[in-house]
């Protein structure tokens, strides 16, 4: 009984093990990638099949419910898409390819554990498993210079500080409530948060590590440098999959803090506004595409927080929907970035010129993903924003929504710049980009999924709503 519901995790652990044994040998990149893809695909199928499982394991610290299973599917899907996107691993040192895949799989495994962790120490444990694997992987970049090492150090230092602060917050929570189980905290904390400032402080501190993972103000400083310095494939993983798990944990913590509008809500609202504004305004002047995406993800973190802090069904379901859409949109843009730079170097707006002539598929993927991030219909990004605004207005956060809306209008400019560079700037010198068949399939997949879910969002939305219902 216990074994069958743990199968997705076991499958991913086996993937990690097999990749570990492969690191001891000397395999070609193609073989390693094929093995990673196949194993991750198997894990994905198993995880999708387990989407309805429920259970409580390991003395009550590990809970499988609709929310955790949905997020596990998203995490494994994200891992699969990252593996597929980075075919050839041109940005990574040749001899480290197998280790690279293994560490990404370990990180995803940690994130899977994080989805189901409902006890503070287990949360910390899973968080650290996923973080350490990523700390190692950031500097894996081919090439001269030390920018990738600088990014790695920034990532570790920020991560360590944020984890330390989270532990600090957890110690206060334990001191106040005398328990570390989220289910018990959910009964005690709302009362404490309403009366004791220390409880508010503790709850916010506990969330700090997840602000860090989500790249939300005030733990956003690492994002631009890490995105820019790491290899394109690494950035694509760091930009998307950990944020999904971070949103899940933030949802759990906000549910712990209580569904009424409290001081915690106001702190989160302030952080959301600062995140959105800072991210959008900084992104306006960037020329490096990955740095721009980092600032845009800081802004998106602000939008997601808008849904999380409402602490009611509609807003939280909106946040879940939005972050899943965010994963797809961002992977779409990183897919284009990866394929535009033949030697794995960073991509600027100049490199995008003439993309519609060089590769119509890449240009269309970039257009659809960029406008989806801006929130232009009929894409998944629009439905996500629409639902976020509905959820927030439903709870009466008028000022927040107006600010978010103004920010969305401001953000349209830099997404437009991307589309403009790809379609309008004429450049006849660069050669045509020839894509292998698998890459073309992936591009078409991104375009179709972003538009189709934008037009027919019902199934994903229903899944999000049923997932969130377990929290409230």
């Amino acid at each position: 009984m216990l074994n069958t519901i743990f199968i997705p995790e076991i499958s991913l652990m086996l993937t990690v093990l097999i990749l570990f044994f492969m690191t001891l040998g000397n395999f070609r990149t193609g073989t390693v990638q094929a093995v990673s893809l196949v194993l991750t695909a198997i894990t994905l199928v198993i995880t999708v099949a387990s989407i309805d499982t429920h259970g409580l394991m390991f003395y009550g610290v590990y809970q499988l419910d609709a929310l955790s299973q949905l997020f596990k599917v998203v995490i494994v899907l994200g891992l699969f898409l990252v593996f597929m996107l980075g075919s050839g691993l041109i940005g990574i040192e040749e001899k480290l390819h197998t280790e690279y895949n293994m560490f990404l799989a370990i990180s995803a495994m940690g994130l899977m554990f994080l989805s189901s962790s409902v006890e503070l120490l287990t949360i910390l444990l899973s968080l650290e498993i996923s973080s350490y694997a990523l700390y190692v992987v950031i500097p894996f970049r081919r090439g001269q210079g030390r920018i990738h090492v600088e990014s790695g150090i920034k990532y570790i230092l920020f991560g360590a500080v944020s984890t330390g602060l989270t532990l600090y917050g957890m110690s206060y929570v334990f001191g106040l409530a005398h328990t570390t189980y989220l289910s018990e905290l959910q009964e005690i904390m709302p009362g404490l948060v309403a009366t004791q400032p220390l409880a508010v402080f503790a709850v916010i501190l506990v969330m700090i590590a997840f602000f860090y993972k989500l790249a939300m103000f005030p733990m956003h400083f690492w994002a631009p440098d890490v995105y820019q310095g790491a290899a394109n494939e690494t950035s694509s993983f760091v930009a998307t999959v950990p944020k999904v798990a971070a949103v899940l944990l933030l949802l759990r913590f906000v549910a712990v803090a209580g569904v009424d509008i409290t001081q915690v809500t106001w702190v989160l609202a302030t952080l959301a506004v600062l995140s959105m504004t800072l991210g959008n305004l900084s992104a306006l002047v960037q020329t490096d595409l990955k740095r721009l995406l980092a600032y845009s993800s800081i802004a998106h973190a602000g939008y997601v927080m808008l849904g999380i802090l409402t602490a009611d069904e509609m807003g939280m379901a909106a946040a879940v929907f939005y972050v899943i859409g965010y994963l797809l949109m961002n992977l779409g843009v990183f897919y284009v970035i990866y394929n535009v730079s033949p030697k794995g170097e960073n991509v600027t707006f100049d490199d995008l010129k003439g993309l519609s002539r060089r590769s119509p598929l890449l240009a269309l993927t970039l257009l659809v993903s960029a406008f989806s991030m801006a929130g232009v219909p009929p894409t998944i990004g629009f439905i996500g924003k629409f639902m976020l605004f509905t959820g927030a207005l439903h709870q009466g956060f008028y000022a927040l929504v107006i600010i978010a809306v103004i920010n969305a209008a401001v953000a349209a400019f830099y997404y437009l710049k991307m589309a403009r560079a790809a379609y309008c700037a004429a450049d006849s010198e660069k050669e045509v980009i020839v894509l292998p068949f698998g890459t073309k399939i992936l591009g078409t997949f991104f375009i179709l999924v972003i538009i189709l879910i934008g037009v027919l969002p019902q199934s994903l939305l229903a899944a999000a709503k049923s997932a969130v219902a377990t929290l409230l």
């Binding site: 232009v376 605004f389 207005l393 809306v405 589309a419």
Partner: protein, 531 residues
């Protein structure tokens, strides 16, 4: 929900087909190769769409204000969203305008667009779906999706095939319109939160508090005023019109600008009637300013396209004037003016496109004395110039006359200022016509070799160009001499709309200092006190 709709009784889902056929055409175009094939494919798809839309004219029931040819499907139950489409008196005419103008876009671009025909066909066909979707949606979210969805294709049309400053113009267009419509989204969500429905007819029937109505009105009005465009949000229009290719200008002028007026008639007036009546003086003032400023600026232009662009601002001022007069003649005149402007200004842009292909210049000075070499061309130029200045016998005369009649019957002073705008319209249009066709100002007549060279450059219109212009000329005279069928089609809807406004603006809490019925009179006194 069904009691607002008359469900579709034809054998095929006409409105959904109208939306799907261009999209399917765009997808098929992705796999076609060869410019000629793509040109004919685009033309064929738009002609098929036009054919499909003809039953809307023949089978339209003029006696009811309910939404006809309606279709209702489940779409998004989690948020109470249904796929509802339908047309009534005002939207059916705009749908027909769209489907009839779109084939002309391909015809006029036949030799104008020289590169990237595949993208052009795809983008224009997607544009058609988005525009048709705006006019037939009966669900606010569906409306918004099409409204915003039209921005990306329009941006690409201007930015890829545009003129010298296409970069600036396309970004300005996109950001200005995007920023305006995002407030529309907030208004839509706020109405949903208050009433629990996204269905437009139900939203019209609710009565909201005056303060809420004001917020809704302002939020929606910003988006529509930018689209219209009303002064002072008009600055994107000259840039976008001038830099867009011919097809882009035709789409912009004929159809996109009408969406602002349609939005006012669909959202602001019926859903926030008390706020509309309260804001009426201000909006009448802004309309007058649009008319006079637009016409005055047109008078000073040397670039033909910019002149027509500013004249569009002036004409749209007449439309908003008619809408916010809130009487039968005013709204009918505004609706008719929308159609007329679509026909006339579309034709003027096609004419400019034709001459631009010859001389590669939009300046009046480079395109003068055309009468010597292109008699057929200047015939059409004359007809459409007269139509633009509302010469009796042409279509614009009927529209402007109705608007002015509505103005004079309510606020004579407003009518007087509007007439000033009409005079200015005559001034700039006649000036344009005189300079382009004759231009005797310097007395210089080209002769000899110079004349031969000019004759070679300015070859007269070929069959394709004549066909487009003749098609539009038919409408100029038909609407001008026999507008009754069109006016009858809008009759029940306009009456119903005015009834909704009258009922909605007589609310106990409509005026914050307690009087209810005197709201309209208050507005009148306010304007009288202004002067």
């Amino acid at each position: 929900m069904e009691n607002y709709l008359i469900l579709n009784t034809l054998n095929f889902p006409i409105l959904s087909l109208l939306l799907i056929v261009p999209v399917v055409g765009a997808i098929v175009a992705m796999f076609l190769r060869g410019d000629t094939l793509l040109k004919f494919w685009g033309l064929a798809v738009t002609l098929v769409t036009a054919l499909i839309s003809l039953p809307l004219w023949t089978h339209f029931d003029q006696t009811t204000a309910k939404y006809q040819f309606a279709e209702l499907r489940h779409w998004f139950p989690a948020l109470d969203l249904d796929y509802v489409v339908g047309v009534d008196g005002i939207s059916v005419l705009l749908v027909l305008l769209t489907t009839l103008v779109m084939p002309l876009c391909f015809l006029c671009s036949w030799t104008y667009i020289k590169t990237r025909w595949k993208e052009f066909v795809i983008v224009t066909l997607l544009m058609e779906t988005a525009m048709l979707g705006v006019f037939v949606s009966l669900n606010t979210v569906l409306f918004y999706i099409f409204w915003e969805g039209m921005l990306v294709p329009m941006y690409l049309i201007i930015a890829i095939w545009g003129g010298a400053r296409k970069d600036y113009a396309s970004i300005k267009f996109f950001l200005y319109t995007f920023a305006g419509s995002i407030f529309l989204l907030v208004a839509i969500i706020a109405m949903y939160i208050t009433t629990g429905t996204f269905f437009i007819p139900e939203l019209m029937d609710q009565s909201y508090s005056f303060a809420f109505q004001m917020w809704i009105f302002l939020a929606c009005a910003i988006g529509f005023a930018i689209k219209m465009p009303m002064f002072p949000f008009h600055t994107w229009l000259p840039a976008a019109h001038v830099e867009a290719p011919v097809a882009g200008s035709v789409i912009l002028a004929s159809i996109l600008l009408k969406m602002g007026g349609y939005g006012f008639l669909r959202f602001c007036l019926p859903m926030a009637p008390a706020a509309t009546v309260y804001c009426m003086p201000y909006l009448l003032f802004l309309s007058l300013v649009s008319i006079i400023v637009g016409s005055y600026l047109a008078l000073g232009q040397s670039d033909i396209k910019k002149l027509i662009a500013y004249s569009s601002v002036g004409h749209m001022g007449f439309v908003t004037l008619g809408i916010f007069l809130l009487n039968d003649a005013g709204i009918k005149g505004a609706m008719l003016q929308m159609l007329n402007h679509g026909v006339t200004t579309g034709a003027l842009f096609i004419l400019i496109g034709i001459i631009y292909e010859r001389t590669h210049s939009r300046e009046i000075s480079d395109n003068s004395k055309l009468g010597m070499f292109m008699p057929i061309y200047v015939t059409f130029l004359g007809i459409f110039s007269l139509s633009s200045l509302a010469f009796p016998g042409t279509n614009s005369f009927v529209g402007e006359f109705l608007v002015l009649f509505g103005a004079f019957s309510k606020f004579p002073l407003v009518g007087a200022f509007a007439i000033l705008g009409a005079i200015l319209a005559a001034a700039y249009m006649l000036r344009l016509m005189q300079k382009m066709v004759w231009d005797d100002s310097d007395g210089h007549v080209p002769h000899g070799e110079h004349a031969e060279e000019r004759k070679r450059l300015l070859f007269d219109c070929n069959f394709r160009e004549i066909a487009q212009l003749a098609f539009l000329t038919i409408f100029v005279f038909w609407i001008g001499l026999h507008p009754t069928p069109l006016l009858d089609m809008m009759d029940s809807t306009v009456t119903h709309l005015i009834h909704q406004i009258d009922v909605g603006s007589v609310m106990p809490e409509a005026v914050h200092h307690g009087e209810s019925h005197a709201l309209l009179e208050n507005a009148g006194t306010w304007i009288k006190n202004l002067f």
